[in-house]
């Protein structure tokens, strides 16, 4: 064997040491699926702060009259949430700067850093939302309310502000999907992945667009309620209608996408490149999507009658 094709001992030892350290470092980070890892130490600090705050609030609560202790405890709870979001944000910023360094040596794609940047922006939104909740709790002394017909608190409209944050979040998710779409498009052109993956991302993008539209509709409804144009009951029915319409559209998009996949799968089955089991799995998914579509249609009918 050519010695150029064999790793040298120094490299192997160094790499083994590095992988062992990385393993231990990764284990120190509490990680769960779909969530960004937060260092255990930071979580411990945050939890301690939380416990202390809740503890202090609970102890002092006995000295206050009923309304007062409720308010104190609620504030302590939301303050803990703010602390946790802050730690989360700092941790994600740290990870993003680490990834940026790895991108600069050309071993990680730029789009992966872009995804991390979006995660930072998401964490910033979560932090802003927790600060908003805290401001509301301090004014109202009660849990933040999210109903579209909730009254103003201290002359401030917290519901609309939270909806605006939700909209920003949905837009960020769209950006992330667009990055993925570009990458998958390139891979499809190079025959490295199946066309189906592109269809799935497109369906997801359509889904996100609808979500953004729905949030905008809710913002508009809230504005109409605050201006006195519609009553609380009308807001509730219209809001439910918007949700039901979205469910219906989503179910339609999903059924269409799955039907397209099914056509392709049948063609591949005829060529003998996919198994019967794979076709059956897709059929089950299609049946479930069609059932959802029926349910969404039914929900729309009921709401139409209420209106």
């Amino acid at each position: 064997m050519n010695k150029d094709y064999e790793p040298d001992n120094q490299f192997m030892e160094k790499l083994e040491w590095q992988l062992s350290s990385e393993y231990r470092r990764a284990n120190r980070l509490k990680s769960s699926s779909g969530k960004i890892a937060v260092p255990r130490r930071m979580v411990a600090i945050a939890v301690t702060i939380g416990i202390l705050m809740t503890g202090v609030a609970v102890t002092k609560a006995a000295d206050y009259i009923k309304d007062s202790w409720r308010k104190k405890i609620e504030i302590a709870r939301v303050e803990t949430e703010v602390e946790l979001m802050k730690v989360h944000l700092e941790s994600i910023r740290e990870m993003a700067s680490d990834i940026k360094m790895r991108v600069s040596n050309g071993l990680i794609r730029e789009d992966e850093y872009q995804a991390m940047k979006l995660a930072v922006e998401n964490a910033e939104l979560d932090y802003s939302r927790s600060l908003l909740n805290l401001a509301e709790v301090k004014l109202s002394g009660d849990t933040p309310r999210n109903e579209l017909y909730a009254p103003l608190v201290g002359g401030r409209d917290f519901v609309s502000k939270r909806l605006e944050l939700e909209k920003k979040e949905a837009k960020l998710a769209m950006e992330q999907l667009s990055i993925q779409q570009d990458r998958v498009k390139q891979l499809v052109e190079e025959n490295l992945v199946q066309r189906d993956e592109m269809d799935m991302i497109q369906a997801e993008i359509a889904n996100r667009k609808m979500k953004i539209d729905k949030i905008q509709q809710r913002i508009d409804l809230r504005a109409r309620f605050l201006s006195g144009e519609i009553t609380a009951q009308e807001v509730e029915i219209k809001d439910r209608m918007t949700g039901a319409e979205r469910n219906l559209q989503l179910a339609r998009v999903q059924v269409e996408s799955l039907m397209k996949q099914m056509d392709r799968m049948q063609a591949l089955k005829a060529q003998g490149t996919v198994s019967h089991t794979e076709v059956m799995q897709l059929q089950y998914a299609l049946d479930a999507a069609q059932a959802k579509l029926k349910l969404a249609t039914l929900e729309m009918d009921v709401l139409e009658k209420l209106k």
Partner: protein, 168 residues
């Protein structure tokens, strides 16, 4: 996965992974080491989040290959400059390594089937019969694909001769 298991996987896979990558980089030690290291870091991140793959080495090879392709595509704009630099130098090894990377990038753009066959034949040293068995094709089909792949490579890389010899 415990730390012991993780290091066991590393020790079992590092030689085949390194050899696989070194053949594709033309023995460029620095690049091979960087890619091997990055592949293990990705494995650690991914395997902890998702389930472990059936074949560790196959997963690592696939990821390493993708990292190399991404790396070369990212460097595509520097290609002309690199070529000129290597032409000026007397260092034959550097020139050969540069050519190897050029060839690998060209091979990776041939389409899935041709790429798989040509990599198995030239880099992994498999015979036509072995490739035919692995890919469930006839030997004639494999030979046909190899011939067409060589023709495509000639048009992609007119300055490099593809004489059909194996890369041992």
């Amino acid at each position: 996965m415990t730390e012991q298991q993780w290091l066991k996987i590393y020790r079992e896979t590092v030689h085949p992974l390194y050899g696989y990558m070194a053949k594709r980089t033309g023995g460029n030690r620095e690049l091979t080491e960087d890619i091997v290291q990055e592949s293990y870091l990705r494995a650690l991140g991914t395997w902890k989040r998702k389930s472990m793959p059936d074949s560790h080495v196959a997963w690592l090879k696939r990821v390493a290959r993708n990292i190399l392709i991404d790396y070369l595509r990212q460097k595509r704009w520097d290609k002309k400059e690199d070529l000129e630099r290597h032409q000026d130098t007397d260092n034959q090894t550097a020139k050969d390594q540069f050519k190897s990377l050029e060839i690998f990038l060209a091979i990776s753009s041939l389409g899935r089937k041709k790429t798989k066959i040509i990599e198995a034949f030239y880099y992994d040293g498999k015979s036509v019969k072995e490739i035919a068995n692995t890919m469930a094709l006839s030997e004639r089909a494999v030979e046909g694909q190899l011939r067409r792949a060589r023709l495509s490579l000639k048009s992609l890389l007119p300055e490099i001769k593809t004489n059909g010899e194996k890369n041992e």
